[in-house]
Symmetry: C2
Subunit: 256 residues, 2 copies
């Protein structure tokens, strides 16, 4: 049975997509069967895996609307064990069109249910908001992975995200839990990074992944080639960090 | 008459709030009368100017709902010429509550109209999405200032933002235009930054501000003290960049 993980944080630019692309690729490199789902109308996960908007046909928008199945829009990537449900900016329309549907928050969960046996991991990249698309992702998910930029504004928003997850647990998805908090864009030269990291570890203890993703320019260069960093520069600090995170996740799940 | 500028980009974490806080403070330091409006439920502009959620009473949510006037929720800041319309996460409720209101996209424009004579600049910080809160800001604005992080995903989203602004110009706000594109988090050591900057200047020419905001840790430290960077570290590269941007704006508007 697949473990479905929503990669969410309403704070913008904290590394959600970079984590979805590179954790997905790293798990696939370890021969875990992975499905990456792009629930952000920006479509950065799709282009980061080689499918810019111009090359996407049917996508997640059509799945949420009930016109197509997830299976029908699924795409291959450069990695054998990694598949993608792509998206384009049309997905913005879903937020308005689903407003009156009674099951509006369960559309993604229903679409992914038939795929649970085919994958070991389903990773969902969320937009920087707590609207219907993120809500759909939290309902479909078993756990939430929270990328956290080691900066003040990102830390400030963490409480609101966690209380939103609590509310989802108390209503539409009683099983949801925190997969972990991932420290991203970690710059060991600055005091700010160390202060934020210390504060997060103090409050959240073992919920913080041991793996840390350093600030590494190779991570921001790889998307312009439509490749995960392990296919762009396997020796980079960024590639090593995500391979380590994949190992940490696999080991943790093997124990449970 | 105030010049109302929406600071918008649906890509997350590109420097919208940092620009709203520090451009606002720099214009106020030049004795321009400035109103900063927080239209992002994250409330980062408010805390960046010294008002975290816990210290905010009535706010923008109550103004959009018609319960209070902008004047009534306005707050002073540490700078004499800079005022703030604060917000908290309650603002998220406005997106749902206004869905059925016929004038839902004009609420902010109507609320700011009575203030136009009292300010030289009104700066509106937008959330990382193109929903109703950003739409309200684009309707209320004379121009749009687009902070652009010099990275691939940010560049990818620029086309969609500009076509959205075109659609707004063709419908609810015929007068809107681009104030300029501001290169943010510019790291002159990386090829990626230089490539993105060159591509943006090639496509947008004089619409790109001459002032560039470098990546500067003092800009990300200042918010934890609730201060604009010019009150935290006036000698920093970040402070100088925003003072220069303010000067560029004032000179440009003096000529027109
Ligand atoms: N560890 C890192 N080191 C250097 N650059 C990074 C790192 N992680 C992400 N980036 C870059 O920072 C920018 C923001 O990251 P990303 O787009 O993954 O964040 P996001 O949370 O998905 O943003 P959004 O909120 O817009 O969806 C991107 O340009 C990305 O390439
Ligand atoms: N030029 C800069 N140099 C260094 N850090 C910066 C710079 N500009 C912004 N930052 C930091 O980068 C992070 C993102 O910036 P900011 O929050 O202003 O972006 P935003 O576009 O408002 O994000 P959101 O999309 O979440 O509203 C913040 O932690 C901020 O302190
Ligand atoms: Mg993203
Ligand atoms: Mg912001």
């Amino acid at each position: 049975m697949a473990r479905t993980i929503a990669i969410a944080n309403q704070k913008g630019g904290v590394g959600k997509t970079t984590t979805a692309v590179n954790l997905g690729a790293s798990l696939a490199a370890a021969e875990q069967r992975v499905l990456a789902v792009d629930m952000d109308p920006q479509g950065n996960l799709s282009s980061g895996l080689g499918y810019p908007k111009t090359e996407v046909g049917a996508h997640v928008y059509h799945v949420l609307g009930g016109e197509m199945s997830a299976e029908e829009v699924m795409l291959d990537t450069e990695l054998e064990y990694l598949k993608l449900l792509p998206t384009t900016t049309d997905l913005i329309g879903a937020e308005l069109e689903l407003v009156d549907a009674l099951d509006r928050h369960q559309r993604l969960a229903e679409a992914l249910a038939p795929l649970a046996r085919r994958f070991d991991y389903i990773l969902i990249d969320c937009p920087p908001s707590l609207g219907l698309l993120t809500l759909n992702s939290l309902v479909a998910a078993d756990t939430v992975l929270v990328p956290l930029q080691c900066e003040y504004y990102a830390l400030e928003g963490l409480g609101h995200l966690l209380s939103t997850i609590e509310r989802v647990r108390g209503s539409v998805n009683p099983n949801i839990s925190i997969e972990g908090i991932l420290l991203c864009m970690y710059d060991k030269r600055t005091n700010l990074t160390r202060q934020v990291a210390a504060e997060v570890r103090q409050h959240f203890g073992s919920q913080v992944f041991e793996s840390i993703v350093p600030r590494n320019v190779r991570l921001s260069e790889a998307p312009s080639f439509g490749k995960p960093v392990l296919l762009y520069d396997i020796d980079s600090a960024g590639a090593r960090a995500y391979l380590q995170l994949a190992r940490e996740l696999i080991d943790k799940h093997a124990r449970s």
